[in-house]
């Protein structure tokens, strides 16, 4: 950006970024309830699921993600139904809920089996319930097969079958779905417990007893035993906090325990009141039961849980990574436009947008860390978020130094791509699951995992810079000798950075392994993947120092580095062996192959003889590739790079 900005060009970038910032801030405003029911506050109520306290909002959103890969429900009239509202409907109006198209089915054979329309994607429970028996029958056979050998049809079938299971559990989480007035039902239950238990004891002792009381208690027992098995989130907190804070129960389990003392837990009563009021369409009763429950929670010492529920549901609503994704695309397009039309305000705007997006990305990262009480990377999902963050941060610094649009292009491209990867990984449901015993150590997560992930980020960044070099050099005339030289400097610096972090991260991983199972190095696939990155970055640096490769050769090696890194990051997880494995992910495998093939194509492009590179052909040679060529002897114009030492 050599030319100074004048007039409107000076304020336009700030104007655009200001608008974008306004868009983000405006979306922070909490949504209003669509009806007089205070559903937003209901959504924030804390429950326990997957071993952690979370708001009902997260339960609802993650369930919808699992069922239909979206966090909300599209209605027939084009409107969106909020996840919590959908979940409340499931718990109170099961007949209505059964008409909602919440099951996403992609596999054609599965659709055929269930006699569903091929051209549709989403289906309601009513549409698939006729084929359910057949589904269960098929599923029993498939369950005996190992996950690796299942066909796409079999995997699709297992998926829909478990989705139906989840659907049932949600419907029967608070009350049995056939319960009309649940508040009245548990009132009756409370009144009958004592008499029922007397009848039961007498009958066991062979004495005379009231048969009605006995039948009643037996029926309640069966009913709530069922409910205790189906209940999905644990919604009933322990009354006595001094015992065990995480000892939450499902409604069914809590009701069964009530049989002992005859007392019904306050949480059960409040939830019964809320669902009953919702069924009867009585906002006043719903809101007052909700208010009383909130007050009870606060009074009983559940302030941290209430806060967690509030914060996490705010975070769910904020969706920082989705917002960053949009801004990265915008920045990428503007920076690309800058190369075609050298208006400096384009580069300036792209740079500022990357900055804004980075701020949002960072805020999301920190928010997650605070919610989890963990370092940034705890699973594959968060590693994608962090790889993107690291690469964007480095690109931002590069752009600040060189101001030639390259940093913004790579920031936009890598930021967007990694966040898309993260988004797809989030479709499995909860992304803040608890960590297995051996991984439960913040020290090693903060050092080894962060270092290795920064290593991934930097090798990818070097690879993307190399793509810029090859694409611009071969296909356009825009790669001037100065740009080529600065690109080469950037790549070199980033490769050094990558070597440092990959090496340190890998060795720290070894030391962690030594600490936890007494083996510094065990040739585990994930360890090997990390080692491959270290070996490859070391090979790149030595090749450059020895003059074995020059500018272009280094770029080609960096592209290969992308393949190595993608193998280390995702490929090894697909070998389905070793301590680090996450299981086979066939969808991800397909995309990994797509990525690697594109990298091979770009690599081949990089090997095209220099005389065909448009940027290195003489300016007056026109479009003819056979025109006079410059420097056929020296492969790349800026000449040999000196050895480092």
């Amino acid at each position: 950006m050599k030319q100074p900005l004048t007039g409107w060009q000076r304020w336009l970038p700030w104007g655009i970024v200001g608008l974008a910032a306004l868009w983000v801030v405006a979306a922070l405003k909490p949504p209003t309830d669509p009806s007089p029911f205070r559903i937003r506050e209901f959504a924030e109520l804390p429950v326990l699921l997957n071993g952690r306290v979370q708001p009902l909002d997260s339960v609802a959103r993650n369930s919808l993600l699992i069922l239909r890969s979206k966090q909300s429900l599209a209605l027939e009239d084009g409107k969106q139904m909020d996840a919590t509202e959908w979940m409340l409907e499931m718990m109170t109006h099961p007949d209505l809920a059964d008409q909602r198209k919440v099951f996403r089915i992609d596999n054609l054979e599965v659709k055929g089996l269930l006699k569903l329309a091929e051209e549709e994607k989403n289906f309601s429970f009513n549409q698939i319930k006729d084929g359910w028996e057949e589904l269960e029958k098929q599923n029993r056979r498939i369950q005996e097969l190992e996950a690796e050998v299942r066909t796409p049809y079999e995997r699709g079938l297992v998926k829909i079958n478990s989705a139906i299971g989840l659907y049932f559990r949600i419907k029967n989480s608070i009350r049995p779905e056939n319960s009309g007035d649940f508040a009245a039902e548990i009132g009756l239950y409370r009144d009958k417990i004592a008499a029922g238990l007397v009848a039961l004891q007498k009958s066991q002792a062979g004495e005379d007893h009231d048969e009605n009381d006995l039948q009643m208690i037996v029926q309640f027992f069966r009913r709530y035993e069922m409910l205790s098995k189906t209940g999905y989130p644990l919604v009933v907190p322990p009354v006595d906090l001094s015992h065990k804070r995480e000892d939450w129960r499902t409604v069914g389990a809590s009701l069964m325990e009530s049989m002992r003392g005859g007392q019904i837990q306050p949480a059960v009563e409040y939830y019964a009141a809320m669902t009953t009021a919702y069924t009867k369409n009585d906002p006043g009763a719903f809101n007052s039961a909700l208010g009383e429950y909130q007050a009870w929670l606060a009074k009983s010492g559940y302030t941290p849980e209430i806060k967690k529920g509030h914060n996490e549901s705010f975070f769910n609503h904020y969706q920082p990574f989705i917002k960053s994704m949009t801004l990265y695309v915008l920045a990428f397009l503007l920076a690309c436009a800058y190369w075609f039309k050298w208006s400096p305000w384009l580069a300036r705007t792209a740079f500022l947008l990357v900055g804004l997006s980075l701020v949002i990305h960072t805020s999301g990262l920190i928010f997650r860390m605070v919610l989890e009480g963990r370092p940034p990377v705890t699973n594959l999902y968060s590693s994608a978020i962090f790889v993107g963050w690291g690469a964007v941060l480095l690109s931002f610094v590069l752009e600040r130094i060189y101001k030639d649009g390259i940093g913004s292009v790579t920031a936009g491209a890598v930021g967007f791509t990694t966040l898309v990867v993260a988004h797809n990984l989030s479709l499995d449901g909860d992304t803040m699951t608890m960590l297995q015993a051996v991984l439960d150590t913040n020290f090693w997560l903060a050092t080894h995992v962060v270092a290795v992930t920064l290593g991934y980020a930097s090798t990818f960044l070097a690879g993307f810079l190399a793509i810029v070099y090859i694409v611009r050099g071969l296909l356009t005339r825009s790669l001037t000798p100065e740009t080529a030289k600065s690109l080469s400097r950037m790549v070199y610096g980033i490769v050094c950075f990558a070597t440092l972090f990959s090496f340190v991260g890998t060795v720290l991983g070894g030391i962690w392994a030594d600490q936890s199972w007494g083996r510094f190095w065990g040739w585990d696939p994930k360890e090997n993947g990390a080692l491959m990155i270290v070996l490859w970055t070391a090979a790149m640096l030595h090749a450059r120092w020895g003059g074995i490769v020059r500018e272009r050769g280094l770029m080609v090696m960096c592209i290969f580095g992308n393949i190595v890194t993608s193998f280390s990051w995702f490929g090894v997880n697909m070998l389905s062996i070793g301590l680090h494995s996450y299981g086979f992910m066939d969808e991800a495998f397909k995309w990994l192959m797509v990525f690697d093939v594109t990298q091979l194509i770009i690599l081949a492009m990089g090997l095209v003889p220099i005389k065909y590179w448009r940027s290195f052909a003489k300016p007056d040679s026109g479009s003819s590739p056979n025109g006079k060529l410059s420097g056929t002897k020296t492969p790349v114009t800026p000449g040999k790079l000196t050895a480092a030492a």
């Binding site: 071993g51 510094f520 090979a539 120092w545």
Partner: protein, 388 residues
């Protein structure tokens, strides 16, 4: 001479070797899917060459350099480069530190591979142990139980059976003749008797060889005293319960009796069992606990509270061993590795590794070297930009 030195010290050799090493790691990782982690390690990383031959045929050709060869080439390359090309200067101090760290890492890992011994200690709650067991190697133990206070154990390693048929030790009043030995075998019923049929060696990830032998005890005059079928199938609790489950009904109960016999008023017992490493101290498991996250089966923590009793040093203390927090004692390290079904006991991984500190040292050196080197570059770069 200079040509040879030039070859060995060249950066070209470094790059080619590093690239080949990366290729080796890649194919070695893929190979784990088929032949398991343990075998892949031996074939690819702890070898001079990776061999290949069409399946079913006997010939094999080397197709790729193995881990040892590549490591050796890199080491020579590095030393030769320092001997010929590098001159020590302040500017290159980072590179020197990095390379010295790498040499320590290489040699340390080589030493670890050769010298470290891994074993397991399985203890039920309340019980004590003064030995650990090797999960992969077995031995024939001849235990003299004459003295009720102390057993005297003579052990014969598995490898001995490869080319010997007769055990004749001066300290024993008898000779043991080996009728049959199989490095890997499975139990079968022959009438009401138990026999072991040989199997090909195990190759799969979690499979191991379970040896069996048929031996005859003969006194010094040549008279046969007893014949035994002996195997890990009979000495290890887990395997024994598998045998009982599979064949128990058909076999006579005497099959499961200990292999005991008497010679000249002395009592002996024979057992094929995992190699034992006795310690001069006793470990007692006081309590094992296994926590899960609320409402899930995800393990949150495993921990073992043990009592360590060493009569030589008069130590008697309690220690808590848990995930990521091992006990280092007497040149060995105890790690929480696994547990017995129903959380009734613990399994420690016991590692003796004289070279365990080398990676720590190497890590510090290489990291420091890389930092010094790259920071000098960065500072130069910034200075240049300032002046430009």
């Amino acid at each position: 001479m200079t040509a040879i030195l030039k070859f060995w010290s060249s950066l070209r050799l470094t790059v080619v070797t590093l690239a080949m090493a990366m290729g080796l790691v890649f194919i070695g990782t893929l190979a784990q899917v088929k032949i398991g982690l343990y075998q892949a390690q031996i074939d690819y990383f702890q070898s001079l060459f990776v061999w290949w031959g069409p399946s079913g045929s006997n010939w094999k050709i080397p197709v790729w350099p193995g881990g040892y060869l590549l490591g050796l080439v890199l080491l020579i390359n590095l030393l030769a480069a320092h001997a010929s090309r590098f001159k020590f200067s302040k500017k290159k101090i980072g590179i020197f530190v990095i390379h010295a760290g790498l040499i320590i890492l290489f040699l340390g890992q080589f030493a670890t591979e050769r010298l470290s011994v891994e074993s397991n200690m399985v203890i039920s709650e309340g019980a004590s142990k003064n030995y650990s067991e090797n999960g992969r190697k077995s031995e024939l133990a001849i235990i003299e139980t004459t003295d009720s206070k102390e057993d005297v154990v003579t052990s014969v390693p598995e490898a001995w059976f490869g080319n010997n048929r007769e055990l004749n030790r001066a300290e024993l009043p008898f000779i043991i003749k080996v009728q049959m030995f199989a490095p890997n075998a499975e139990p079968a019923a022959k009438g009401s008797n138990l026999v072991f049929t040989p199997l090909p060696p195990a190759t799969k990830m979690n499979d191991r060889n379970i040896p069996a032998a048929e031996v005859e005890v003969v006194d010094r005059k040549g008279k046969s005293l007893a014949k035994f079928e002996t195997s890990n199938w009979l000495s290890e609790d887990k395997l024994l319960s598998m045998v009982k489950e599979k064949l128990g009904e058909r076999l006579s109960p005497s099959v499961f009796q200990r292999s005991e016999f008497k010679v000249d008023g002395r009592s002996f017992e024979l057992a094929m069992r995992p190699v034992r490493y006795y310690k001069p101290y006793v470990v007692q498991l006081l309590n094992f606990s296994h926590d899960r996250y609320a409402g899930t089966d995800i393990p949150k923590n495993y921990s073992s509270r043990i009592r360590l009793i060493n009569s030589q040093t008069r130590e008697d203390r309690e220690v808590l061993i848990y995930m990521n927090n091992p006990l280092r004692y007497g040149g060995e390290t105890y790690y929480q590795a696994s547990f017995l079904p129903g959380d009734t006991g613990t399994i420690f991984q016991v590692v003796k590794n004289p070279g365990w500190l080398t990676p720590y040292l190497a890590c510090i050196m290489v990291s420091a070297g890389l930092l010094i080197q790259f920071l000098t570059h960065l500072i130069q770069f910034i200075k240049k930009r300032r002046t430009a």
